[in-house]
């Protein structure tokens, strides 16, 4: 019978889903605009040209971020928040050796903070509903990843070349972040 699928479909429709108050579409649009501004600002950071050894550091981005694995929107929000937090923390460090325009860096931080603030208002509700243990492992991996970057910077004594490497890495991260915002959909 060709119409057998109707009944389960109808039953599915009857199942009422819990109303999620977080307006993910709005959040997504907000994050996207800020993120693109961040990327632009990051690219503008051009310090004094300096020859640096070809130091291709592999900081080992967590796989699920790099490959933009399928995320639930709540998990995506948490991951994005975590990434923004660490980005903010890293760029607070001493970058005097680079000769970057401070205003640009400050602007970048303002944008990052803005994104975080938008997420924070939604995070409270997300944390109320969310009870996934998945998020924990990814967030732990993210912490380890950013710790590697911090330790690298510290080891290289915040030199210009080290900052250049980190700048490139952060650009990559923001690109990943952009991809992650795709999952913030109602």
């Amino acid at each position: 019978m060709t119409y057998r699928w109707i009944l389960p479909m109808a039953l599915l429709l009857c199942v009422s889903t819990t109303a999620i108050s977080v307006n993910y579409d709005l959040l997504r649009s907000q994050l996207r605009s800020s993120n693109s501004a961040c990327l632009m600002l990051l690219r503008q950071l051009n310090g004094a040209p300096q020859r640096c050894p070809e130091d291709t550091m592999n900081f080992q981005v967590p796989e699920e971020i790099e490959q933009a694995q399928q995320f639930q929107k709540e998990d995506a929000a948490l991951v994005i928040y975590e990434m923004l937090q660490h980005t903010l923390r890293i760029f607070r460090r001493n970058f005097a050796s680079t000769g970057w325009n401070e205003t640009i860096v400050e602007n970048l931080l303002v944008k990052v903070h803005l994104q975080m603030d938008r997420l924070e208002t939604n995070l409270e509700e997300i944390m109320e509903e969310e009870s996934s243990t998945w998020g924990n492992t990814t967030i732990l991996r993210l912490k380890k990843y950013y710790r590697r970057i911090s330790q690298y910077l510290k080891a290289k004594k915040y030199s210009h070349c080290a900052w250049t490497v980190v700048q490139a890495e952060m650009l990559r991260n923001l690109a990943f972040l952009n991809a992650l915002t795709d999952y913030l959909q109602n």
């Binding site: 119409y3 109808a10 009422s16 109303a19 928040y81 303002v110 995070l123 912490k143």
Partner: protein
């Protein structure tokens, strides 16, 4: 029973008891042994035909002391009279079975097959012994008859004494040993391992003469039994000698201090030390924890390990005493970061007249490993109360560097702070309570009630001030700086357009600030004195003067109405960010009635439940900013109305009805088709012959039928003889009529036509030719 088998002193006690009994009964003239000997003698004798094979040596009774001959002889006589084994076995059965648990309970778990007798035993007896208790139990009959005189009593006594002993001891081992002691000879085959030896011992002791030798025999038997029983008893007894692993093992992690705590399993055991090992994922082996090897304390601090706090760690602990070690107690693997508890933060206070300046340091030390990546992620909540009076407590969420406002001057306030990590759902411990006195009221109060407005080109800051003729200045700060602990007093920047303004407001262009979050503060001065800074007002550049009304989307779902509040339409092209923390005031009413209910909601997606089905409800909403007495609201949106759907039951019925209808549809279609065909058949028949007819009559058959009435086939023939007649032949058609003239002939020929086709044909052609020639 006074103590369990596992007690070490048990063995000694059993042995002593045996000796005591043996001694006791020795005085009684070795009744035991004679009795025993008699029994074995009887057993040996009762092997029937194989009686003779049993060597006199194996019969201890044979060497019974001379003191006993009369009895023995009597017994012998009786024995010979009876000539059966069974009663003796019965006797032995009676002897052994009353023991609680019976000899059967002593059966070693894996009964070895009866070993080949080391000395010639009646094979039947051996076999019988091998069968074990079943045999004993099967033994019927009364033994009393045979015994006649003396033996029953003493035997009975003896049995009772053994039985009572068994009852008193009540252990399997003791009874086993007893039965083993009893069961010399054949029944020894039941015994494990050294069982073979006991007959030998019996044999040896049997050879010796007299009671002392019997005693030695029994002693030897018991010691051998002890040795034999060791494999079974030792594990049980081992508990007494070995240590138990520690209990209540827990991991406590607060900030950077990681402690493993446990408790001793047995408090009475002294001089116990503990050792702890750990394991990390990279290394597959357990590593000894330095500083926690053979320690006497019941806790171990493993903070010094400098573990990777985001990686799993496994720990195990055990107790030691001398050379004994308990088994390892393994703690489930854990990730230190996940187990860690946030410790108390450090709070520094500075007092103003109506405010207290906070300086909170994050939990852990400066170079904390645990919170290295999270130092700026902590959110702090504070509880403050007046020390003096009832102490109404006020809870606030604060930044690491913040101010608590709305306090009274010259009052003592006490507060405590705790840190929180929202994403990890961790709540920290409260800091110790610290108190401070607010200062005397300042002459110049700070400006109050700061509000920030904006229009399309400028931002406008407005505030209130008590006194007139003051100059004001405003400063701003990057919002993100507030997240970080530490001083940022020097990071405040002047607002250029707000320096030394005389009015209680200040206007500056939008271009001053790029999109983001900032803080603004205002200070008043009148030349000589300056007031303290006002409250730090949070300033989000996304705020607009005009809040556009939201878009409402209604959906009726199953007896309830779902409301979606969407972003307002914008006239401009660029996407305007909605001011965050918008509250929506929703007016909700039934279309027919006039009573409206108002709801304030922050959510943009919610449902009105429990509505009347099939009624029209209307909704309109407006957006508000309810922030610090700043009442900004948009206009009301358009009213949207929607009818609610029927209730649950009717809805399911409806769906069921639809489904059924859809299922029936193909059937209906089929029926209709059949009907149509019927109608067609009845009212509009086709002129075609039925197909059956077609099939039956093939083409050529039909044609033959038809052709039989019409003219016969005329063959075209070419006559080779006369070249002139070629043309004539072609005109056979025309000649067909002429042919009819010769009907008689032709008819004849037609009769033969079928048979003689060629001949008639040629004949015909000849006639035609003839005709043609004529």
């Amino acid at each position: 029973m006074a103590y369990s088998v596992s007690h070490p002193a048990y063995f000694h006690n059993v042995h002593n008891l045996l000796l005591r009994y043996l001694n006791h009964h020795l005085d009684g003239g070795l009744k035991l042994f004679t009795h025993k000997g008699r029994r074995s003698q009887l057993r040996g004798r009762r092997s029937g035909a194989h009686r003779a094979r049993r060597p006199p040596d194996s019969l201890p009774g044979a060497r019974a002391p001379p003191a006993q001959p009369p009895r023995k002889q009597a017994l012998d006589a009786s024995w010979f009279d009876s000539g059966h084994r069974r009663p003796s076995r019965q006797r032995s059965a009676r002897r052994t079975r009353p023991a609680p648990g019976g000899a059967s309970s002593f059966q070693p778990p894996s009964l070895p097959p009866p070993p080949p007798p080391l000395f010639p035993k009646p094979p039947g007896a051996a076999a019988r012994a091998g069968e074990g208790d079943a045999e004993l139990e099967a033994a019927p009959g009364a033994t009393g008859n045979r015994k006649g005189g003396g033996p029953p009593e003493p035997r009975g006594l003896r049995t009772t004494s053994w039985q009572s002993l068994a009852r008193r001891r009540g252990t399997e081992e003791a009874a086993r040993r007893r039965s083993a002691a009893h069961a010399a000879g054949p029944t020894l085959a039941r015994l494990p391992l050294s069982a073979r030896r006991s007959p030998v011992a019996e044999d040896v002791t049997g050879r010796a003469s007299g009671g002392p030798q019997m005693m030695l025999a029994v002693l030897g038997a018991t010691t051998l039994m002890l040795v034999a029983g060791a494999p079974w008893v030792l594990p049980a007894a081992a508990e007494g000698t070995n240590l138990k692993s520690p209990q209540n093992v827990e991991v406590y992690i607060v900030d950077d201090s990681c402690i493993l705590k446990w408790s001793e399993s047995d408090e009475f055991v002294s001089n116990v030390t503990f050792s702890v090992d750990y394991q990390i994922p990279e290394i597959d082996d357990w590593i000894k924890l330095p500083g926690c090897q053979y320690v006497t304390s019941t806790q171990c601090d493993f903070s010094s390990l400098q573990l990777n706090v985001y990686d799993e760690v496994k720990l195990r602990v055990r107790a030691e005493k001398g050379n004994d070690t308990s088994p390892w107690y393994e703690v489930d693997s854990f990730i230190p970061f996940q187990k860690a508890q946030i410790g108390p933060p450090e709070v520094h206070l500075e007092a103003e007249d109506r405010a207290v300046i906070l300086n909170i340091s994050p939990p852990g030390t400066q170079d904390s490993v645990m919170w290295a990546m999270d130092s700026s992620s902590f959110t702090y909540s504070l509880v403050i109360w007046k020390n003096s009076s009832s102490g109404e407590k006020r809870t606030e969420t604060v930044y690491p560097r913040d101010k608590i406002y709305k306090l009274s001057p010259e009052t003592t306030y006490c507060l405590k702070v705790r840190a929180r990590l929202h994403v990890q759902r961790k709540v920290g411990l409260y800091s110790p309570v610290s108190c401070i006195n607010t200062t005397v009221e300042n002459k110049l109060p700070p400006p109050e009630n700061i509000q920030i407005d904006s229009n399309n080109w400028n931002y406008i800051i407005k505030w209130d001030y008590k006194y007139e003729n003051m100059t004001f200045q405003a400063q701003w700060l990057y919002g993100y700086l507030k997240k970080f602990p530490g001083k940022h007093e020097d990071k405040w920047k002047q607002l250029p357009d707000c320096e030394n303004v005389k009015t209680t407001q200040c206007v500056f262009p939008r271009s001053t600030f790029s999109r983001g979050i900032y803080f603004v503060r205002v200070q008043a001065s009148n030349g000589n004195n300056t007031s303290l800074w006002s409250e730090e007002k949070r300033f989000d550049t996304e705020i607009q003067t005009i809040i556009l009304p939201p878009l409402i989307n209604l959906k009726s779902v199953n007896g309830s109405l779902r409301v979606y509040i969407g972003a307002p339409k914008e006239s401009e092209n660029k996407s305007v960010d909605q001011p965050y923390r918008l509250t929506y005031e929703i007016n909700f009413w039934e279309n027919t009635s006039d009573t409206k209910s108002k709801i304030l909601q922050k959510k943009t997606d919610f449902t009105f439940l429990n509505l009347k089905p099939l009624t029209v409800y209307c909704v309109k909403a407006r957006a508000l900013i309810l922030e610090e007495k700043w009442n900004k609201s948009s206009d009301f949106s358009d009213t949207v109305c929607e009818k609610t759907k029927p209730g649950n039951t009717s809805r399911t019925l409806l769906i069921a009805g639809i489904c059924i209808a859809l299922l029936i549809l193909p059937a209906v279609v089929y029926v209709v088709r059949v009907l149509w065909r019927c109608i067609n058949y009845v009212f509009f028949p086709s002129s075609k012959p039925p197909s059956a007819v077609d099939e039956y009559f093939s083409e050529h058959l039909l044609k033959n039928l038809l052709l039989s009435t019409s003219a016969e086939q005329i063959e075209r023939c070419f006559v080779i003889e006369n070249t002139n007649t070629v043309s004539a032949a072609e005109e056979t058609n025309h000649a067909g009529e002429d042919y009819k003239k010769y009907g008689s002939q032709t008819s004849q020929d037609s009769g033969n036509y079928s048979n003689e086709d060629e001949n008639s044909g040629s004949g015909l052609s000849e006639e035609v030719l003839l005709q043609g020639a004529v």
